[in-house]
């Protein structure tokens, strides 16, 4: 019989990846450990491999056309739904931020608030950014000439290192709101919170594969992502000069868009300056259509 005074061993959750609307373990079987600021072990999480990246891109590619094909209004509804679900789980996120990331009381609350508000804010842009950023162009021929932003396709983003929850929302929302699919690579001090967030996304009517989340080491994945021929754009927060050069050189082969975000200091993530419709811009392609029209009264051409 076991001695009655034996201490109970805590069961540490092993956080998995989020690929194609499922939560698989990394194909490589590797894991890393997450510690809180006191140095205590708080979670195990998957160390994603090159193969996981590839699987995510396949899932994202599969999901992208359907996501882009939804009405902007419906994408707005789904982003809003993400905010709703996050709201309903706010206590669990505040707890996670405190327990794992050492962000206490009011600060944790403020971060969750800001994350929810930001989702709502970007949700509102889903059916508006096209009007604001699209144009009709005056041309010297009998055509309507219309320019409209369209999603780029599959985007890989390297998440910011600080602000475990709000930073992720700030990275995710402007990329998916226009109809892109996303592979988000998370390397920060508290990657487990990214997978908590994946659970929120998972029950928010977001189609599987639109957002894929890989935790692990970005060093290991950055070159493969930049080289991958089926990724259309790469975004990176906190990129070093070397990383920027690597991405720029390798991405050139498939003419990927690249965008490097300036990361605000940890305290400023919640600031309105960290959200902008202009953050949607790097991940859209402008398409121009020429539509023939009858000559109007303004033209005096005689046939």
């Amino acid at each position: 019989m076991a001695p009655s005074n034996s201490p109970r061993l805590r069961v540490l959750k092993t956080f998995k990846l989020y690929i194609g609307g499922a939560f698989p373990r990394t194909e490589s079987g590797r894991f890393l450990q997450e510690h809180n600021p006191k140095g205590q072990l708080v979670a195990n999480f998957c160390r994603a491999s090159r193969k996981d990246l590839r699987n995510s891109v396949v899932a994202a590619r599969k999901a992208q056309a359907g996501w882009a094909g939804r009405t902007p209004f419906n994408r707005a509804q789904i982003l809003y739904r993400m905010a709703e679900v996050l709201e309903s789980r706010r206590e669990s996120f505040e707890h996670a931020l405190t327990e794992r990331a050492g962000i206490k009381g009011a600060a944790a609350q403020a971060q969750v608030n800001a994350a929810i508000d930001r989702l709502v804010w970007y949700a509102g842009w889903a059916d508006k950014f096209i009007q604001i950023m699209g144009t009709t162009n005056p041309v010297a021929s009998p055509h309507f000439n219309i320019t409209s932003p369209e999603p780029t396709g599959v985007v890989t983003a390297f998440a910011p290192r600080n602000a475990p929850l709000l930073g992720l929302i700030t990275a995710i929302a402007p990329i998916i709101v226009s109809g892109n699919a996303l592979v988000l690579v998370v390397e920060n001090d508290h990657p487990s919170i990214a997978i908590d967030l994946a659970e929120v996304l998972h029950c928010s009517d977001l189609p599987g594969g639109v957002v894929n989340i890989l935790t692990g080491q970005r060093d290991e994945l950055i070159e493969h992502a930049a080289k991958h021929m089926d990724i259309d754009a790469i975004a990176a927060f906190d990129a070093t000069d070397d990383e920027r050069r690597l991405i720029a050189v390798e991405a050139a082969e498939s003419v990927k868009r690249t965008h490097f975000f300036e990361t605000p200091a940890a305290d400023n993530w919640a600031d309105v300056s960290a959200q902008s419709p202009y953050h949607i811009l790097p991940f859209v392609e402008f398409k121009t259509a020429w539509h023939p029209i009858e000559s109007s009264a303004a033209t005096s051409a005689k046939y």
Binding site: H228, M229, S254
Partner: protein, 299 residues
């Protein structure tokens, strides 16, 4: 002929063992040079196929172009054959002139096979006259399931005769045969009646080719070869889309029948999207970058 037909005696199939054995072939990991060789071999065994109601001459021309030159600048070999409906045979024949690529055609009222024997043999003759090198016929599953095995034997013999010089592939449509025992029996009847190839599926019924079903058919071919010394070809079709799957099948062929069958003369894949998957893998091996099928033509 009907009276002289004796239903062949075939061993019963141990379903559990077949499925377990088939699953083992998926555990082989083929890397580097062997992988490249395997991928190229798989490409050379493809019957590049389009069997849609919406096929147009343009689509067939495009497919033939792809069969001749799968990817510009790559050293991927040409495929074995282009497989089309009989009406498209002249177009394919013209496009593939001067190449070693065969034109295969699905005759005999593909995919249902629901027509009289006369109509079916007539269609085969027309396809052969139009230039088909290979005929893919479907057996009458209704007759088979009703136990009229002699009719199956009869129809295959009649169609083999109608084929003339063309090679005959007999489609068993294993997805409709219900049991491995039926697959084994149908394979044996087809082989005895003179099939050059036996083929799993039309691709119009789910499931198409599966590894256990293919294994049962390969074992029938093996046993027939041991008994008579006569080689018969094999063509799994339907549902083989990934390069990795193709490599699993090649491992199964090698370990069941041996190297002699690792040739487009004796083994084929009936597929359309498989070629792009193989090309993507070959490009990945060549460049070190994961590729995208957006850079490849449709198939």
């Amino acid at each position: 002929m009907t009276n002289s037909f004796v239903v062949p005696r075939v061993p019963s199939v141990d379903a559990v063992a077949v499925e377990e054995r088939a699953a083992r072939f998926k555990t082989r990991s083929i890397k580097k040079d062997a992988k490249i060789k395997g991928l190229k071999l798989a490409a050379s065994m493809i019957d590049l196929t389009t069997l849609e109601g919406m096929d147009t001459p343009g689509k067939v021309q495009m497919l033939c172009q792809k069969a001749r030159s799968p990817l510009a600048g790559s050293d991927c070999p040409q495929v074995a054959a282009v497989c089309v409906y009989p009406t498209m045979v002249p177009i394919a024949k013209r496009e593939l002139q001067g190449t070693a690529i065969k034109v295969a055609s699905v005759a005999t009222y593909f995919p249902s096979g629901q027509a009289s024997l006369k109509e079916r043999t007539d269609e085969v003759r027309r396809a052969v006259e139009a230039g088909a090198d290979e005929i893919d016929m479907v057996i009458s599953r209704g007759d088979f399931l009703a136990g009229h095995y002699h009719k199956i034997d009869e129809e295959i013999r009649a169609i083999r005769q109608a084929c003339g010089p063309a090679h005959l592939k007999v489609i068993l449509e294993t997805g409709e045969l219900q049991t491995y025992d039926n697959v084994r029996l149908a394979s044996q009847i087809a082989i005895d009646a003179g099939a050059h190839f036996i083929k799993t599926s039309t691709g119009k019924v789910s499931p198409g080719a599966t590894m256990p079903v293919t294994l049962v058919m390969l074992e029938t071919i093996r046993d027939h070869f041991i008994k008579t010394g006569k080689m018969v070809g094999m063509k799994p079709a339907g549902g083989i889309r990934e390069a990795k799957q193709a490599l699993h099948y090649l491992a199964m062929v090698k370990e069941t029948l041996g190297d002699a069958w690792l040739s487009p003369d004796w083994f084929r894949f009936g597929a359309s999207s498989l070629l792009n998957s193989v090309l993507m893998q070959l490009e990945k091996q060549r460049t070190g970058r994961y590729h995208s099928d957006r850079y490849l033509s449709l198939s």
